[in-house]
Amino acid sequence: MKNLIIAAALASAGFAGSVLAQNIAITGGKIYTQTDQGVIENGTVLIRDGNIESVNTGSAVPQGYRQYDARGKVVTPGLVGAMTSLGLVEVESWAGLVDASVGDASVSHSGAALDVSYAINPDSTVIDVSRIEGVTSAATTISYTDYLFQGQGSVISLNESAEIIRPRAFTVLDVSGDGAEQSGGSRAALWVTLERLFDEAAALSEVPGLNSVWEGLNTRADLEALQRILSGEMPLIMEADRKSDILQILAFKSRHPEIDIVLMDAAEAWRVADQLAEADIPVIMNPEMNLPDSFEAIGASIENAARLAQAGVRIAVGMETHNIRLATQHAGNAVANGLSHEQGIASLTSHPASILGVSDRVGSLAAGKQADVVIWSGDPLEVTEYAEQVFIQGQPIDMESRQTQLRNRYQNFYEQEKNTSQYIQP
């Protein structure tokens, strides 16, 4: 109970003094800066106007800063959810519209044009549940379509308004067997389709105007998206597990060197780790996926993350929506199986930020970055440790969610139960 009270006190103290230009000092913690400053054993993070002002060794604090004592605790950048559908889904199954699932839409032939930036709901309870556990920003996108491409995802902040940090930030494309199912049921069709779609987009210097007749493979809206991929402006996140599929991705990269390619899922990626490092293709993964759960993942290994990182591949961990908060456990298990702890923290912060093209704002504690900061009770990768206080854009957030309120409601009920009433009081 003591910890709970402290957490509540911290939260309310934060709110009591909450003004837009609040200056905050987080003092005495072990700080993972995710910059050239590395890990500072006893340091202070200064926050001014919502941004990181500086990260310093020691506990010195200038006048005019609200102090948060992080002695004996760990301080990291806010976690960056590497791949989620936050704000696009409240309840996944059979409970109303899910914007993360897209059927037939006439605006697109290939799915490339779809754009989730119109669909994000900041009031989703999943956002609160995630942010009180240290997730402060996230890639969010479509998890299912009938199309080849899964549309254009956004990177959002998990602040009150679920502000879009970067719209149309990336596109997901499944080139595994599952993806081939959407393209004639064979890779023989999928890759030809893909190349023709890109050929068409590449051949046009600009998207045909509305006054011209256009009867290409792509719709006009799809062409705009593909041209942004071709120019390298929007990363193309390609899903595959099987080694041969990953080799096709590497071949695709050599045919289209301008495209910024990211590999996702990647069960057998360790088998081609050196080539991935050579081609500078990072990987978004869940390192716990160690079962041969299809003929495409026979080589699945609990050491996948460690082997990739060893070869020099940047890895990002965190592929969940309702439980993106468990990314710390996933990364922890990668560390338990050979990944360095430093890489484990990077896989949750600086790596997803750079892969998603938002490292200018989030993912590290560097001067001028958005002050997304977490004070942890201890090692964030330990399942028994937790976020004690989360800051987003320099604001200490209310560390409550619908889940903590349900908990409180029923803890109160049991305490009052001796009163014999069955009435669940508000």
Partner: protein, 474 residues
């Protein structure tokens, strides 16, 4: 349909081999005999052929012991031999010649028991041809047995073993009101299900509440509502009572020397009658608090016991009632939101159930989660601490071994480190409430079945043999 005499004889041939050889039954199946043979039913037609692997008398010293019934011993000792725990304590006697393992900085616990697994029935690879967990052809199928779907070559068994799982219940899926019988297995990778089958463990029967049955059958003849679900259960229980009475009448008449015709066997009702007689334990998929209470009323109406609710995401709302009715809740630490009936999940579910005095169990329902059930318990333990629920790690370990063993009716055999229990135990590299700790040695009935540091003691399924891409075993 009337049961002809020849059909009875065929049944005899299969079900009472102890009384009649196949040859004799063939003779008796010939023509009319005046006095029909008494029909009795073999309750164990697929018997366990499990044989423990040979172990050495072994003592683990200088080790932190969690005995599974709430005690933690620092710098303790565990001695096991002849397949059984012989002694546990601060300082125990053991014979010269016993293998001594220095457990410095390590922990030893009872082997983990997962009472909710679909390994073998939904194996890896997860392809249609091996997908054998849900008999989704009609809502009431208690006559199917999960053991007839178990594929022993599922690579998931060995992965679970590496996570310290020594015993697991394989359940049918949750599409049906009555999904079929479960089977309890020793996690000793073997050629056949029978070689893994836990000797003398009672059968379980899977039931399911809520969304799944109504979703699967809503457009296929029903049920399409929760009230339809309950009608479905209750009619089936009424039929089972009727069936049981027919057999009781037959038994009493034949016992009295009267000529009596055996009722036609009905494999669905036979399983349910096994529940009503107390021989088969009910495991019921149920998320919502209000539904669980309805199910406990139904349990009283038809006079059976629900052993455990499974998933029980809202168990915290009715933890007092679970305690009153002696029904366990088997739960995840933190899964939620994937469907409406999982929307009210909270992280403190498990400790809140424990605090109310009810039987709390950590289960996996996952071929990934089963590999780290210790971490699921660790999360729930920590979440409880933060919410002011002070449960010791030693008590929290009951969620992983003693309580699931009770829910499976095998706590007299396993689930704790007590003298005389099966020597099912795990030596951990450190505190198993840490992410970084792994199972180092795993023993089943005193025989070592897994070693973190010895590839020869890391089982591999036939499916993985000869594949050019082998991830885990290299």
């Amino acid at each position: 349909m009337a049961l002809t005499r020849s059909r009875i004889s065929i049944a005899l041939a299969f079900f009472i081999p102890a009384f009649l050889s196949g040859c004799q039954s063939t003779q008796s199946s010939g023509k009319d005999t005046e006095q029909a043979e008494k029909v009795s039913i073999d309750s164990n037609p697929f018997p366990s052929t499990y044989t423990p692997i040979e172990g050495q008398p072994t003592v683990i010293t200088n080790v932190t012991v969690i005995d599974g019934i709430g005690n933690k011993i620092d710098n303790g000792m565990v001695y096991f031999a002849d397949g059984k725990i012989q002694a546990v304590g601060k300082d125990v006697d053991y014979p010269d010649g016993a293998t001594v393992i220095d457990g410095q900085n390590k922990w030893v616990t009872p082997g983990i028991i997962d009472n909710h697994s679909h390994l073998g029935v939904y194996p890896s690879p997860g392809i249609g041809s091996l997908s054998d967990g849900n008999e989704m052809t009609k809502p009431v199928t208690p006559g199917v047995w999960a053991e007839h779907s178990v594929w022993p070559q599922d690579a998931g068994f060995a992965r679970a073993l590496a996570g310290g799982v020594t015993t697991l219940q394989i359940l049918p899926g949750s599409a049906n009101l009555f999904g079929g019988r479960s089977v309890v297995l020793k996690n000793l990778p073997s050629r056949t299900m029978q070689d893994m089958k836990f000797p003398d463990a009672p059968y379980g029967m899977k039931m399911a509440c809520g969304e799944n049955p109504k979703r699967v059958y809503g457009q296929k003849g029903g049920p399409m509502t929760r009230m339809g679900n309950v009608r479905g259960y209750r009619q089936a229980w009424a039929d089972a009572q009727d069936y049981m009475r027919k057999w009781e009448k037959y038994e009493s008449e034949t016992a009295a020397g009267k000529q009596s015709k055996a009722p036609k066997r009905d494999l669905d009702l036979e399983t349910m009658a096994g529940v009503l007689k107390g021989d088969i334990l009910v495991h019921m998929h149920c998320y919502r608090a209000d539904e669980m209470v309805t199910m406990m009323d139904m349990m009283k109406e038809f006079d059976y016991q629900i052993s455990s609710f499974h998933h029980a995401v809202e168990a915290y709302k009715i933890a007092d009632k679970l305690a009153q009715n002696n029904v366990c809740a088997s739960m995840w630490a933190d899964w939620w939101g994937f469907k409406m009936e999982a929307y009210d999940g909270i992280r403190e579910n498990i400790p809140m159930v424990d605090k109310a005095g009810a039987c709390a169990i950590v289960h996996s329902d996952s071929d990934i989660g089963i590999q780290r059930l210790n971490q699921e318990a660790a999360k729930a333990w920590s979440d409880g601490q933060r919410a002011g629920i002070d449960i010791s790690m030693a008590d929290a370990w009951t969620w992983l071994t003693a309580n699931p063993a009770k829910s499976l009716g095998i706590f007299d055999k396993t689930g704790s480190l007590e003298e005389g229990k099966n020597a099912d135990l795990v030596l951990w590299t450190g505190n198993p409430f840490s992410t970084y700790t792994k199972a180092e040695k795993v023993y089943i009935d005193g025989g070592q079945v897994f070693d973190l540091n010895d590839p020869r003691m890391q089982p591999q399924s036939d499916f993985e043999v000869g594949q050019s891409a082998q991830g885990e075993n290299q």
